[in-house]
Amino acid sequence: MAKSTIYAGLEIGTHKICVVVGEAKRDGAIKILGVGQAPSRGVRKGEIVDFEKVQTCVNDALVRAEDRSDVMIRNVFLGVTGAHIESLNNRGRHRLPDDQTEITEDDVEEAKEIARSVSIPQSNVFLHSVTRQYIVDGQEAVRQPIGREGRVLEADYHIIHGVRGRVQNAIRCVREIPLEVEDVVFNPVAAAQVVLTREAKLQGALMIDFGAGTCDYVLYEDGMITASGCVPLGGDHITNDVSMALQIPNGRAERLKVEEGSVLYDEVPEGEMLSIEDDTGLILGEVERAFLNEVMNLRTKEILTQVRVRIEDHLGRLGAGVFLTGGVSLMKGVDVVAREVFGIKVTRAGSAPVSGITATFENPQYSAPIGLIRYAQILDSEKPFLSPLKRLGRRMQELLSSVTL
């Protein structure tokens, strides 16, 4: 079928707000129609702290995206992140009734139900619950259990949950623009869809979306999502460290970091000085380059170590290594530091090939928003086909239920 759907992904990042409009074809290809971007204000560590500022910025980005793609955007897939988002794996175990040996759809539902009835804090909501695998009588990695013979069926789930209020805040902020939020997606889950290839997922891979506010990660093992989470430290922290170490304002520290900074200080010749300029080009002072790099190195290493601590158990099983994406992955030498921290192969990666504006998808800054389009496409392909009438009915239902929220 040649029918295609247009999706829009919105990522409210700490550094920038980004709207990507993409066309998902039925054959799985994605074409990026346009990207709208605006610098972000009022976001700290991936979470919205100032509604009004954020709404203005989102509007800016939205207008640009609409201009470029020539598409009117009504619905978006919203990427969220934040320190409150956590994940866990749970296994639901369902024993078949004694008089039954074949697994039916009901049994699968029951196992899923048990797997999902995991106790998360009361204030939290599920963001995603992804089936990892089914296990029939201890036999792992069963994709399709229905129709098999077995006594015990287990469903393995990866559950990502976050604090209801904080997720709701992001949604509300976007709704007031007004934009309808079609689905909320945890950023790294979206980004992984375009950064990691199927082979990488099978071999085992860790994707780190090293953004300005947070460092989100997703870990795949045997093609299954195994761990995910968010370390609330990011590029902003590097900037802040630089700004406080050199006693210069944040904006200047940010520029210094991007233009001159590197996290390698071994090869820097001794005594090489950098001049700090103000806006007019006047030289305010000098810094030793090695010192700047060292401050950045300490922080970068610490952030990556925090990620490492959380995925320590799985480290030995990552055949494809670490994939670094997100804005900070552009920083000089970050891959070397990551290699030091994780001790395995590190690749800097942007989004995998999609057609459209080439400059966009190659930039790791856009992994997450492009991933949102891909995620939307996957989500749709998994949904059973609905006639337009049913689709309308479902929309009405959603609308009604959202009112009660």
């Binding site: 430290l233 922290h237 006693q247 000098e286 030793e288």
Partner: protein, 548 residues
């Protein structure tokens, strides 16, 4: 409180703790005591009592009693309980000396042999007479050991039941299911010992640890109260995410519970959940909810909850219940055909054969299939002749000979990670930075002053920030308009004095969440990891560490 520590700490045991004594009688009993000695899971006086000097020689228990030294001349009882009893009576003074002065005495014995069946009741009586609480943990023989031994075991069991306050009885046949058929026999015995050791530890903890919801000996006895009952025991410990459910899963995995299936028939079930300080109500609720799926509504659940700081961030779930032998066998016999396909069914000894003696007297409704299956696998006459010709001491010798080879590695390895603490991430990163060449003269001085590589790195970081301050200082006038905190420069200037002080004071570091340290993150939620606010610049925190 019971010492529950893996690393024995004599000073940690306070005087109010009940004194526990564990006596292993006979071959099987001393194996269990060895296991406990090696694992150091219970802080107790460990005594090994045996008639055979060879076994005592191998035993790792700190106290050893040779039963009936004059009578037996250091040779085993040869599967004769009468000899075992005589031997124990000869040595009753020694036994009394060893067990006296304890509040709780555990007696662990493998019934069916000479020493275990014969001496254990005598020792139980001596123990009872000292006024202590006596708990017996016994195993019934494997069915391949023959009917004679089974009869001896049953006899001893009767005697023990009269003397002990509580009797925890394990079925060796079910122990066989602990392992896969292809595993070696050593592993089988090893696992069985481990399970018994775990149960000992669990029982002693449950009955003595002050819990939030306390369980006492009364609860234990009512959980075990069952005519001719066999103990169903499951123990699981887990940590990390989802630890409660994981621990329960492990507990249910115990073959004595048969993945929870046997729980469907129990009348009383004792559940004890213990955790460190971080134990949450939600987790306990989760465990109980999950457990509810395995237990019928009418079952009386005796629930206990304990908080034990020593558990750290792990949760331990203990399930204890009992089931009549008949029910147990009925369950095994009535297992669905599909069950037979599983490797477990191939375990050397299907339970039905155990029923032989009682069936002779009063055939139970399950008799016909039982007899049939017994004929298929074993000819009962053959067993009888074998037993007659070669007294079952052969089998006991087997167990004994294995003993020195019984390696406790797997268990020790399991325990180790618990003691491990994840090292602080910042500290981890330090060796990497140690390669920084020291650049400024002042930094060199400081680095020389510092002794270790770690400190020298920190010194160089600090020193550099100091030198930077002085270098940038001329430009300070231009920078004055920046709203940088003034306190900042004060701390950096202090750096030299900080380094001078570093080794002197070992006072507790007080970490202030001073807003001035956090720069642009001052109005956000702090990101605290292991007591450190990660929003504060890394270099600044390194410096604070240095100040200590």
């Amino acid at each position: 409180m019971v010492e529950y520590d893996r690393t024995q700490s004599p000073e940690g045991a306070d005087n109010s703790a009940p004194r526990i004594c564990i006596v292993g009688v006979g071959g099987a009993g001393s194996n269990v005591v060895d296991r406990i000695t090696l694992d150091r899971i219970v802080d107790a006086t460990l005594v090994c009592a045996h008639t055979d000097v060879r076994v005592l020689g191998h035993s790792m228990a700190p106290h050893k009693i040779q039963l009936g030294a004059e009578l037996m001349k250091g040779i085993g009882a040869g599967g004769d309980p009468d000899l075992g009893r005589e031997a124990a009576l000869f040595s009753r003074e020694q036994v009394r000396e060893a067990v006296e002065g304890h509040d709780i005495i555990f007696i662990s014995a493998g019934l069916g042999g000479g020493t275990g069946s014969g001496a254990a009741p005598v020792i139980a009586e001596i123990a009872k007479n000292t006024g202590a609480l006596v708990l017996v943990v016994a195993t019934m023989p494997f069915s391949f050991e023959g009917r004679r031994r089974l009869a001896q075991a049953e006899e001893a069991l009767e005697l023990l039941q009269k003397r002990a306050d509580a009797l925890v009885l394990f079925e060796n046949n079910r122990m066989g299911e602990l392992i896969l058929p292809k595993d070696g026999i050593q592993k089988a015995f090893n696992q069985a010992d481990q399970l018994i050791a775990q149960s000992l530890r669990a029982v002693s903890t449950i009955t003595t640890t002050p819990g939030l919801v306390k369980l006492g000996l009364d609860d234990l006895t009512s959980a075990l109260a069952n005519a001719n009952g066999r103990c169903l025991f499951g123990f699981g410990e887990a940590r990390g995410q989802n630890r409660g459910v994981e621990a329960l899963k492990k507990a249910l995995k115990s073959p004595l519970i048969d993945s929870g299936r046997l729980l469907h028939q129990t009348k009383n079930l004792l559940v004890h959940v213990a955790g460190g300080e971080s134990l949450t109500l939600v987790e306990v609720e989760g465990v109980m909810k999950q457990l509810g799926r395995h237990v019928p509504d009418q079952t009386h659940i005796l629930f206990g909850l304990g908080v034990d700081a020593k558990l750290g961030d792990s949760i331990a779930v203990t399930l204890i219940s009992s089931l009549g032998l008949n029910q147990l066998n009925a369950h095994a016999a009535a297992a669905p055909p599909s069950e037979m396909l599983q490797p477990r069914a191939e375990a050397p000894t299907p339970a039905p054969k155990r029923e032989a003696p009682p069936i002779k007297k009063a055939p139970s409704p399950y008799a016909p299939p039982v007899e049939a299956s017994a004929d298929l696998l074993f000819k009962s006459e053959e067993i009888a002749t074998i037993t007659a010709e070669a007294p079952s001491s052969m089998i006991e010798d087997q167990t004994v000979e294995q003993e020195p080879e019984v390696e406790e590695q797997p268990v020790l390895a399991q325990e180790e990670p618990v003691a491990e603490e994840p090292s602080a991430p910042v500290v981890e990163s330090i060796p990497e930075t140690a390669r920084i060449p020291v650049r400024t003269p002042m930094a060199k001085e400081l680095a020389d002053a510092a002794r270790t590589g770690k400190e020298s790195t920190l010194a160089s970081v600090v020193a550099r920030s100091v030198t930077l301050q002085t270098e940038v200082a001329p430009a300070q006038d231009d920078l004055i308009s920046f709203d940088e905190p003034q306190q900042q420069s004060a701390t950096t200037i202090n750096a030299t004095t900080i380094i001078a002080r570093k080794s002197g004071s070992d006072a507790q570091q007080t970490f202030s969440l001073g807003e001035e340290d956090r720069g642009r993150f001052k109005d956000t939620e702090p990101s605290i990891v292991q007591g450190e606010d990660l929003d504060v610049p890394t270099w600044m925190r390194l410096k604070k560490k240095l100040r200590r």
